[in-house]
Subunit: 304 residues, 4 copies
């Protein structure tokens, strides 16, 4: 079977899961998304692009943006980055304050909220206009010059971001953020408000799938080893406290977001992005996970 | 021995501990206090007042104020108060976020910071001008009309209160504070900035020691049973995670503060306040604890 | 009202709670007790004894025995005892392994199971025949020469004591027990299997209530200060994770057991023992707690 | 560079780490191993075998055996296995009781001690003579008919296995082991006492690397999908709380043991086993980890 046929098969096989799960509704902007949307787009290493469903519709990428901000921080700080944030799976809920307190302000990894805030702090101290630079970087990665933040989403998040504010204050207390708490929260939430389509996400993630290609986008550069290591972090930490389950069922490095998107890669083979807003109890897209499980089963292409 | 002689003996016997411990220095206003101050004042049930040392010098009462705010909240809410805050000892460090997260936003007791913030929130929704009312109440309790907040201390606290801000945000996240996070923090920190002398504290706490007297001060009323129950909470929760140690060595209900003050009572016998700024590793005054241990040993008057 | 009338009033007032709660049923011997039993016995400081209900019927004292073993260990080791066990309230469930692991094998207090096992280990290394000595001590305390262990209960406990075995092994791992794991478990469970009546418990606890009397029973001696300190530990740690609630509602030092018994004291006034097998969710007797709450309310005699 | 040259290069490049770390010494049998041993053996997918150093010397495989027992349990129970043990990384130290207690007796994954005990319990209820069957299975996997347990090691472990005994008792308490505590401990420790050489381990792990080959050894069968899923579990959970670090630096599924061995695979490319007894603070072989990091760097062959 070729990728085209496979995507079409997947589209059919995930239909029984279409009504399972629940759209994120902690802010009105996320709650009002059409829960029945489903899109998937795969970029093969040879440049071919395959897609099915609502693959051109943009959605809130949310935590998937943490991959982009980590890439920027890693390009600037190199290995010294890991003095301020770990790279171990979190083992517990993605926003747990417990772990942060026990480990005295060093977040377990850059993909839990606390870790992404430390990354945001690094961007704030490393770039003149980090929000602008992140936009340039993402636009270059996916080749779409009109990628934008959704300022309304970011503002709405801030109004109810009590748990995130607790985390940011705790990081500040432990002196693991240098900038002001509000400034860090603002950049963190702004990054999460990025809107992209499956097509754009798949294109952007090809930069991580094809590590033989030079990684240089809008001035952000990573070595081949760094790309692989980003994949390693995605693999062990990319799916909240369902990293083991995703690894077991799917077997691809990737990152999910509460907007219902998942972007994943099979190194030197393909990148893939899927979107369906209904989430399971762990905050991952139900149909998205199912679609990727089918993908690696049908293609027999996973990292294992 | 009478109380006068006993206080003089205590004064001598605590001298070997004069240089032990460390003044709280997390804000400049607390750090600049003279670490060598020591005062103690005892009010007997018969109205007699005994004191030694710097018992007329005012200092930052800090967490001792939590007794006053709890009394106000209890007078307004009665037993329904305990739906929003527990009355069990905390078992761990006094500002632990872990417990709060595990118990979904219900602080273990009203004397840990989280609990006192919930109490502050209750005052904000119960009184038109809670800061003013608290001042009236404390002034009435101790009979000094010029008790004041130290606004500079409160401001200084707010600037560095990252851990407290984390706690307040977590409470808000769990919907256990109704008012704004900043508003709650402001009242909480303002209450902590109250300045009183040992003489004034001892007088104020007599209202809790003499439960046969009517408790009605500036419009705040407690029943006899409520006074006793306040004492019970002080007994089990008043000394951070050293409640057991204090109970074991001293055996009096009371409350300490990082300003170095401790106020305690022996029901129907006496109230006592002691002040010495150097703290042990648990945040309690070294000489203060020693002095009270001597007091109950010499008088043979404790609750046990 | 005199104590006699008060006990009769209490008997009536606790009837509405007669069917509330659930008998401990983790071993058959405890499960088969008649759940409707209720007895109470009060010893006044003047020597008078008052009782109502099934106050002469013996029951399994279970954790109340921890007071007796602690007294023996304290008489032998003095203050050095506290290097191996804390005296802070536990803050969490009474058999939590978490705390023990976090605090590297030092139990929070001698009344949680882990702490009582350390105490049992101390008895094993301090006495030739500790089980015999404990029996002598308790017999002397209550003046009944036929107090016995229920070997069948102890054996039955051992068969299902997986959690206690986990705790004992963890203590051994942290080198806080010197003897063999099985030996410690056996003495610990044997002590818990002691059978006493309310009348015998009240008499035994008078030794802790009347600290002006010399404490010397079957060769076990405590100083006046040690008696008071035992009371302090009962006060802060005697009711599992309901210590604060008991202090708040009742206001007496004491100790409860899953057999449904509670023994408590009002220093220099009275000792009291109550028994009713139905337990609340925290493992304390429902009617027992209610009865003691009524007692301190009616007598207006508590430690506060 | 071919594998031969690469192994020789690795041998040189790890020499600076030769004296780093500390041999496991909790039992005398492990403590007396020569700390300066170093061996590595790589099996290529084409059948070629490359080795350097002490690759034929047998050592205690310890936790590496958990891969073999998991394979047996998975072949018998299939997906239903995961009702009794999770597959998420542990996030904390490999023998933590905390997690087990919080998650009510369901170990996070089959490679922490608790999880491997549940697996041992499954083997006990599934096979007539599980110890014999495990031996048959491992012998078939590596083609050495004289693989043996070291009974002396197993006995010695049992004498000091207080923490493991605590874990087993806690599992029994939560009813997640059916057999007796001692029986489970015995099989668990016996499996850990297996002795194999790097050459034998590399051969055995080729069965997991080459998932196009039929997996059928001494009656134990796995499907292709099951092999891949075993690899996924090794990837996320195989290195105690250093899974993220290993994934980041090395990028291969694998399993380490406190005997100093590590076995890892690059699916459809090679299997590799390395041995050096000195461990880092997380319990993984210092030179072993370094050697594998060099291997994936030099070959540019990892799963990412």
């Amino acid at each position: 079977m070729n990728y085209k046929t496979i995507l079409e098969e997947i589209y059919k096989s995930v239909q029984p899961f279409a009504a399972k799960g629940k759209v994120a509704d902690y802010i009105p902007e996320l709650a009002k998304v059409n829960p029945d949307r489903f899109g998937i787009c795969l970029n093969a290493i040879d440049g071919a692009v395959y897609s099915v469903g609502d693959s051109n519709e943009r959605f809130s990428v949310q935590s998937i943006s943490k991959v982009f901000t980590l890439a920027m921080a890693l390009s600037v700080k190199g290995e010294s980055l890991w003095a301020r944030v770990g790279k171990e799976p979190s083992g517990t809920a993605f926003n747990s304050l417990v772990q942060l307190e026990v480990e005295r302000g060093i977040p377990r990894n850059p993909f839990i909220n606390a870790g992404a805030m430390v990354v945001a702090d690094i961007l704030l101290t490393s770039f003149d206009n980090p929000a602008e630079r992140l936009l340039d970087f993402v636009r270059a990665l996916c080749g779409s010059s009109d990628i934008r933040y959704n300022e309304q989403v970011a503002r709405s998040e801030r109004e109810t971001a009590y748990l995130n504010a607790a985390i940011a204050n705790l990081l500040k207390y432990h002196k693991n953020i240098e900038c002001g708490v509000e400034e860090v929260l603002r950049l963190y939430l702004l990054a999460c408000s990025l809107e992209m389509s499956c097509r754009e996400l798949a294109k952007a993630f090809m930069a991580f799938a094809n590590h033989r290609e030079e990684f240089r986008y809008a001035g952000i550069e990573l070595t081949r080893s760094q790309i692989k290591r980003m994949n390693a972090v995605m693999q062990t930490c990319g799916f909240y406290d369902e990293a083991g389950e995703f690894s077991y069922l799917v077997g691809l490095p990737g990152k999910s977001g509460v907007g219902g998107g998942i972007a994943a890669i099979c190194p030197m083979r393909y990148s893939v992005a899927v979107w369906s807003p209904r989430l399971n109890s762990k905050g991952n897209s139900v149909m998205g996970m199912k679609a990727l499980e089918e993908l690696t089963t049908m293609t027999n292409e996973s990292i294992f």
